[in-house]
C-alpha cells in the first residue's frame, strides 16, 4: 500500500492554478480558498492525500463541495468552519464517523473544500473526484452516471441554517431541491453529498484528479518561470487542443436559479482574425460556436485562458477587452460513454446537438 503523503504549500499553490483551469470557466476562482488554506497550513494543520486505491472497501467517505454561483462566492467567499460543519451534521445524521473526505468537483474552488474541512477535522483527503472537471449540477457526476443513491445530503449556510435532505427520488430531484434551498441561502451553501463507501469511490469516481490538477499547475508554473508559453506547455502536457485566440468583445451574465448563466463573444486576433467565437455558459462553459457553427461542447473541457500567463479566466471574471485563448482538454472516458453523455452531454444542458468530441478529428 502506498503511504498517504502530506500536502505541501507548493502543492496547494499548484492545485489552485490547475484546479482553476480544470474548472472550465466555473467552479469559482480557488484564490479565496487558497488564502484560507495557507492560513490553516501556517497554523500547522497538515492534510494527508490518500490514494483511493488504498481505501478499504467498507470505508465511509464524505464527499463535500460548496454549492452556488461563482459570482456570489466572489463576495461571500468561503469558510472552512462552515464546510466542516456540514460533515459533522452528516455524521450526526448517520450516527457514524467518516474515515476520509473525497472531492465532489476538482474544477475551481471546490478542489479546496475537502482540504479546508480536513484541516479542521483531522481526516485524510482522497485523490479522486466525481466530475474530473467542474459541472453545474448534481446529476452531472460519476455517482449519478453509476446510478448510486443521491441521498442523504446535508447543507449549511453562513448563518448556520441547516438542512438534511433525507431522501430523494433521483439525482435530478436532489439537484432541484438543493438548488432551491441554496438560492434561499443566498446562492451559496456548504454541502456534504451522499456518503460513499471505499469501494464506490474506487469504482465510480475519476481517480487521481488532485494529482492531475497539481501536475497542470506545475506545468504552467514551470513554463512561466522559463518565460515559455504556458498555454502551449499545458496543451502538450495534457493532450489538449487550441481552438481560438482573440479579444473578448461582449459578456452577458445573469445569476438565475442559483446559477451564473450567459455568453461571451470573442473576436479573433492574428490567425483567427475575421472570425468570431461565442461561448455559452451555465457556471461552466458548455458550448462553443465559431462563426455560428458548433465547434466544441461539454463534456470536452472548454477552458478560456489568459493568452500570456496561462491563468484560467472564469465565467465571472471574463471582461470586455481581455485577450484570451480558448482551448479544449479531453474528457475522462466515463463522461463520454453512452450513459455518461446522458448526464453531461450537450442535451443535458438543453442543446439540441449530438456530442462529437473535438478530439475525434472530424470537423463539425
Amino acid at each position: 500500500m502506498a503511504k498517504p503523503r502530506p500536502m505541501t504549500d507548493a502543492d496547494y499553490e499548484a492545485l489552485a492554478l490547475g484546479a482553476w483551469i480544470l474548472g472550465t470557466g466555473g467552479g469559482g476562482d480557488p484564490y479565496h480558498s487558497l488564502l484560507e488554506m495557507r492560513t490553516l497550513a501556517r497554523e500547522g494543520r497538515t492534510v494527508w492525500l490518500l490514494d483511493p486505491l488504498d481505501l478499504e472497501d467498507d470505508a465511509l467517505v464524505a464527499v463535500v463541495g460548496q454549492m452556488g454561483a461563482p459570482l456570489v462566492i466572489q463576495e461571500k467567499m468561503t469558510d472552512a468552519h462552515v464546510m466542516a460543519e456540514t460533515i459533522r451534521l452528516m455524521e450526526r445524521h448517520l450516527g457514524r464517523r467518516f474515515t476520509a473526505i473525497a472531492l465532489w468537483e476538482i474544477g475551481g474552488n471546490n478542489a479546496f473544500q475537502p482540504f479546508l474541512a480536513a484541516a479542521l477535522l483531522d481526516l485524510p483527503v482522497v485523490d479522486a473526484d466525481a466530475m474530473g472537471r467542474a459541472f453545474p449540477q448534481a446529476d452531472m457526476t460519476t455517482f449519478a452516471i453509476c446510478d448510486l443513491p443521491s441521498y442523504p445530503w446535508t447543507m449549511v449556510d453562513i448563518r448556520r441554517n441547516t438542512i438534511v435532505f433525507v431522501e430523494a427520488e433521483d439525482w435530478y430531484w436532489m439537484e432541484r431541491m438543493t438548488r432551491k434551498a441554496c438560492t434561499v441561502f443566498g446562492s451559496v451553501a456548504a454541502t456534504c453529498k451522499a456518503p460513499r463507501t471505499g469501494r464506490e469511490i474506487k469504482e465510480c469516481t475519476i481517480l487521481h484528479t488532485v494529482s492531475k490538477a497539481i501536475r497542470i499547475g506545475h506545468v504552467v508554473q514551470h513554463a512561466r518561470a522559463r518565460h515559455g508559453d504556458p498555454v502551449a506547455a499545458l496543451l502538450a502536457s495534457e493532450g489538449g487542443l487550441r481552438l481560438f485566440h482573440g479579444k473578448v468583445t461582449d459578456v452577458y451574465r445573469r445569476t438565475t436559479e442559483g446559477y451564473l448563466r450567459g455568453s461571451a463573444e470573442i473576436e479573433g486576433l492574428q490567425e483567427d482574425r475575421g472570425s468570431t467565437f461565442v461561448l455559452d455558459f451555465q457556471n461552466e462553459f458548455v458550448i462553443g460556436r465559431q462563426d455560428g457553427t458548433v465547434r466544441v461542447t461539454a463534456p470536452d473541457l472548454i477552458c478560456v485562458l489568459d493568452s500570456v500567463s496561462g491563468d484560467a479566466i472564469g465565467t465571472e471574471t471574463l471582461r470586455y477587452g481581455q485577450r484570451v485563448t480558448v482551448v479544449a482538454l479531453p474528457a475522462p472516458p466515463l463522461l463520454v460513454s453512452e450513459k455518461g453523455l446522458q448526464h453531461v452531454g450537450p442535451r443535458a444542458f438543453g442543446y439540441d446537438v449530438n456530442f462529437r468530441s473535438v478530439f475525434d478529428g472530424a470537423a463539425w
Binding site: 466572489q74 469558510d79 472552512a80 448556520r160 451574465r253 489568459d306 500567463s309
Partner: protein, 510 residues
Amino acid sequence: MRHVGIDVGGTNTDAVLLERDQVLFSVKTPTTRDVTSGVTRALDDLLRTSRANPAQIDAVMIGTTHFTNAVVQRQGLTPVAAIRIGLPAARTLEPFVDWPPDLARLVRGRIFLLRGGHEVDGRPIVPFDRVAMRRVAREVRDAGLRSVGVTSAFSPLDPSCEEEARAILREECPDAAVTVSHDLGRIGLLARENVTLLNACLIDLARATTRAFTRALEASGIRSALYLTQNDGTVMRADYAEAFPVYSFASGPTNSMRGAAFLSGATHAIVVDVGGTTCDIGCLRNGFPREANNVIHVGGVRTLFRMPDLLSFGLGGGTLIDPADPSRIGPRSVGYELIERARVFGGSELTATDVGVAAGLIELGDRDRVAALPASFVKATLARIHAMIEEGVDRMKSDAADLPLIAVGGASFLIPDGLPGISEVITVPHHAVANAVGAAIAQVSGEVDQIFQNMSRDDAIAEARRVAAERAVSAGADPATLEAIEVEDLPLAYLPGNSLRVRVRVVGDI
C-alpha cells in the same frame, strides 16, 4: 489650445508646452523631495524658455508616480481603520489578509467586522448592525485614526450599508476621511476592499501632493484648471484626485506609451522607456497601450485595476553598476541624486549613465571622469544592458511579425540600435519627455453608471453608450476619436422592471 503636461517621476520632473498638437518646448529638472519646488522650477523654466504668457495656458495636466511609489516604498502612508460589513460571511478572511506583511503593518490601524451587507438578490445577509457601527465610529475617533475604508458585501448592487456607515462616521468622527468601496470597485469583495484600503492610506499624501501642485501653479502665475492623469489615459480634476488617489496608479506608463505614440505617429509598436530608475516595456495597439489581462498587484496588493501590460525592471540612467563585475547591474538606483552621485557629475558611484558617457553614447557631465574605465569593462557592461532589454522586448512581443521599437526616456541611449524581431528603432524629438507629452495629450472621458428599467439589454447598453459619448464630447472630446473602454452590465434582481445597472466609459482626444 495650449496645454502644459508635467511628469513628476522618481528622478526627473519634466514639463512640455503643447499647442495645436505640436510640442513647442520641453524642459527636464530634477524631482525634489518636497515636489512643489521641482514642479515650480519646471514650470518657471518652461515659461522662461517659451516666453509663454502664463495667463494663456488653458490646462495643466500632471502625471505622477508619487502615489504608486509611496505604496511600493512604504512611505507617507496613513494608518487606516478597515471596516467590513458582511458578517457572518467571509469571517475567516479578514481585511489585509493577502497584503504583504510589512505593508499591512503600516496601514492596518484597526480592523472591524460588522454584521450586515447584502445577498446577490438584494436581501440583507442579516440586518445591518447600526448599534455596533456607532460604537466602531467612536472607537475610530478615540484611536485617533484619520482615514477609514468601508466595504460591504455586494455594495456595487446595494450601497446602502456603506452609505449609512459613512453617515454615522461623519457624525461621530467628522474629521476622518472616509473611502467607501462602491465608489471604487466592482463585484469581488476582497479586491474591492484592497483598493478601498489603498485609497484610504493615501488620503493624507494625496491632499498634500495635490495642494503642492496647486501652489506650484499659483507661484508660476498659471490660473488654468489643474488635472491629474489616470490609469486609463484620461484626466481627473485635482479635487477629485484628492479623494481618489488610487486612480492615478499606473498613469506614468500609460503617459509614456501614449506620448511615444503621439511623438512617433506609430500605432503598432513596442515602446521601451528607460528612465532614471526603471526600464518599462509595453506594446502599442492602434495607438493605445495593450492592457494587462491578469490580476494587477500594486506594491504586492491584489487589485482589480486595469493597467497597461508592462514589463518593468531595474535599469535606468541612475542604475548602480558594480565596478568589479560588469554583469552586476542594478536594481538599485541613485534616483534623483544622479547629478550628485554619478561619476560624470563629480560623484563616486558608477551608474549606467557613466557607462553610456564612457561609450560615447551620450554627452553628459565630465567625460574625463570616466576615462579610466577600461574599454573592455564598458563593452561588457553595455552588452549585458542590451541583453536585458532584448530579453524584455522578446517577452512582451506577442506578434510574429517585426515591429518598430520606439525608444523614449532620459536614458534611452542604453537601448541597442538593432534587436531581433524589431524592424527599426525609432528615436523621436522630445523622446526624453514622452511622459510629460502623454500627460499633455491625456484624453477626456464620459461615463454612465445608471440603472435602466423596462428596456432590453441591448437597448440599455446602446442608450448608455450614447449618453457616455455625449458626455465625453461635451467635456471636450473629438467625436471622431471616441472609443468605449468599458462596457459592463449587472442585473438588479431585487428591483422591478428587468432592472439593469449599466456602466459605460467612453474616452476621446481633446
